[in-house]
Amino acid sequence: MSKLSTVKAGDALHEREFKPNHVQLFLYNAALWNAHRIHYDTPYATGVEGYPDIVIDGPLMGDWLTQAVVEWLGEDGTLASISYFSSGGIESVPRLIT
């Protein structure tokens, strides 16, 4: 039976734990060509912008959300639309579960 036939709004789909580190944030921002200093420059992120540490990119967390959905969905369908909103900056390197 297709997963889509039983799921309803509000159901928890799939848990996946991500443990980002500074190397991953460097590689991600290099892949984008994103030079925003809050993502790799600790003295700038803490001293100038007032964050406790460097900040995980919002779109990276958005990607993790899509991974949780796509991995749960498997071959039962195709991702047609997704929306997410950050409620605040998340500093490296907490455990994040989507």
């Binding site: 892949a31 060509w33 994103n34 200093r37 900040v55 990607d63 991702l79 639309s81």
Partner: protein, 151 residues
Amino acid sequence: MTALLTPELLSHIGNASSPREELVTRRDIRKYSISTDQRLKKYLEGDEAPPMFHIALFWDVVEMDQLKPDGIPVDALVPKFPLERAMAGGSVIDYHRKIYPGDELVATRILSNMFEKSGRQGPLIFCEVTMKIETAAGEPVITQKITRIMR
């Protein structure tokens, strides 16, 4: 409430960027997939792009002297706001077609909305940009509304 967003700033709503073309390569898909911790083989080997790959494909590639002190490039589409510290807000993404190596894609960005709200630590400006991605032949690929917050 329009204390920060003057009529002049609001007049920029509806501005559009010139279309940008990019070629999708297997190498770029692989680099993106590894950096985002993908687990599916089709993404890690670059046979198909993960759903958020277009973010990397169409991130502005600018020279270093075009970066502001915070490392963000000057975006000609968006006016200078009275609040300058930027943070990611969110996205609404509609997928029309998957992306594969060899695809030639075209993206157009439109400044679709801006408004302000009061946050816990002061005023916030929300700036919405809608990006439409199509194939070179005009087939819809992705539509994304991106919200950026200035504080």
